[in-house]
Amino acid sequence: MFIQIVHLSIDLENFQLRDINLDCDQGDYVVIIGPTGSGKSVILETLAGFYKPDEGKIILEDKDITNVPPEKRNMSIVYQDYVLFPHMSVYDNIAYGLKKRILDKRLIEKEVKAIASLLKIEHLLHRLPVTLSGGEAQRTAIARALVVKPRLLLMDEPFSALDVKIKEELRHLVKTAIKRYQTTTIHVTHDLDDVWDLATKVVVMREGEILQVGPPEHIFANPVNSFVADFVGTNTLKCKIIDRKNNLTLLETGENIKLYSKDQGMPGKEVIVSIRPEHILVSSEPIFGYALNTFCGMIAKTRVQGQLVWLTLNIEGLSLKAVLTANAYEMLKLDKKTKVFISIKTSDVRITAPKH
């Protein structure tokens, strides 16, 4: 294991982390996601050595680094608000960490120019941070962090202050740069797109606690409870288990709609069922071959987001979110308030833990 956080607890004036356990392999891109105030940033700053944990250990490559000062950890940090040194040029900002490690000025220049060209900021090197746009400033901050080849790159909502287009561009650049420098990364965000685009591992946090850890597909498909499901955009339905036969569980929602699931459950129990929006099939004609879980409903709302169209479906009072590509949406000639046929595979109806 490359880095291990073991039973980490910390009590700051207005914030607590409770018993955090997290492992991470070399080359992992870990995205910690959770609402504001869930303690994501505190984990990063504790990893970097700015806070001393009250309990627990941080182990990097089998060495306990819990009491090692920040300057000896070789972990770089990138903040949402860039935190570029205002009295230094872009060049000096990027070169700052190198100057501590390398004496040869030409070598420093070579390294700075290499990363600047990778992040497309070589034309800005002489400028002062105050003259940069948000995207340029963040690329500078990422360059400054990566150029020292940190053992761990820590990013605290690095794209939150940027607008959508620049965000996408920067995500792509970061992906390339991190691949090139083979950096293990822990990235804190509340933006799901960061998870889709970058994560190899996802950590969901709430109020100083880790709720779920796993690969993104796993978290999205099997949220451990309704909070995680809500947060990652999954439909969550409160259901009662009615019956169990032929390896199928029959569920009933509060709206008296019956659903079949391949997951197991005890009849009579109240459970939370999660269904991914992309697992809901929407069609203007009855769908052949889906005998179970086929419904007739209406489109209550549509929302276009880039190449995706989010639909809010209404099945006799039950509201479900579904997502289609813009093309598929076009081809189906769906419109608001039209009648649609809705199908869900029994294997996509997931039973999760009882509601908290």
Partner: protein, 267 residues
């Protein structure tokens, strides 16, 4: 309604400033210019001005050397007794200067500290060193205050980033914090200097106000008022005002480049 309230505030500001301005300018208008020029050229005035500037410069330098680490500690670290340290450091600001002088006189006169210093050949009481010491203690709280708020205004994340890039605490302070605090430290030095030049009560008690020996500008003013030598007194008043004015002008000039100067009559 807000317009009339705005006008009332502006009128009060202007009226008060006017009264203050008349009071200050009467210093320049009332006396006979010949007397003033004569007094300015007198050996006593030249001595006093020189001594004032030299002692205030030394006291200010000393105060800055203490205020920077103290201000940094108060701004960045939490430690036991921090609030007590803060309150005690602020005390001399609210203290009557005379009482501060008396306290210093007792400290350097009668205690082990005073005796130890005396054994080392450093005499504080009724000496020029005493002037520096009195000015230092008068100016220090202001220096600490301004420097502490300067450090408070610097996002600690600059330091965290510097440390994560491999620099230790002191290197980070030197490379990042100090350059960012530069203008605040400068402002603090100016204010402290002005305060040191104007220090009177503490200097009078600790250094004694002896003619042409421990005589600084406020003492010149005081001594000459007591002799009825109005020309000399007013001249030293003028010199003091010019020094303060220069300090304030420098301060204002510096503040222009800073975000927190937003008290203007723009709207």
């Amino acid at each position: 309604m807000s317009v009339s309230f705005k006008n009332i505030c502006i009128v009060i500001s202007i009226l008060f400033t006017l009264i203050l301005f008349i009071a200050i300018s009467s210093l320049f208008v009332v006396p006979n210019p010949h007397d003033v020029i004569g007094a300015l050229k007198s050996p006593e005035m030249i001595y006093s001005l020189k001594l004032s500037v030299i002692t205030a410069l030394i006291a200010t330098t000393g105060a800055m050397f203490i205020a920077i680490p103290v201000g940094y500690a108060l701004s960045r670290f939490s430690f036991r007794g921090k609030n007590i340290v803060k309150s005690i450091l602020d005390l001399p600001m609210a203290f009557p200067e005379l009482v501060l002088g008396l306290a210093l006189l007792l400290l350097f006169g009668n205690t082990a500290i005073g005796k130890a210093l005396e054994a080392m050949g450093i005499e504080v009481v009724f000496t020029k060193t005493g002037i520096v010491v009195a000015q230092f203690f008068t100016g220090l709280p202001y220096a600490v205050r301004i420097i502490c708020s300067t450090f408070n205004g610097i996002n600690p994340r600059y330091e965290l980033v510097s440390r994560s890039l491999g620099y230790g605490e002191f290197e980070t302070f030197k490379n990042v914090t100090l350059p960012l605090a530069k203008s605040g430290i400068f402002a603090s030095a100016i204010i402290t200097f002005a305060r040191c030049v104007g220090a009177f009560g503490a200097v009078l008690i600790l250094a004694g106000g002896s003619y042409m020996k421990t005589e600084i500008l406020p003492i010149t003013l005081y001594l000459n008022i007591s002799y009825g030598n109005i020309g000399m007194a007013i001249s030293s008043g003028i010199v003091l005002i010019v020094v303060s004015f220069l300090a304030i002008a420098t301060f204002e000039w510096f503040e222009k480049g800073n975000v927190y100067s937003n008290c203007s009559f723009k709207h």
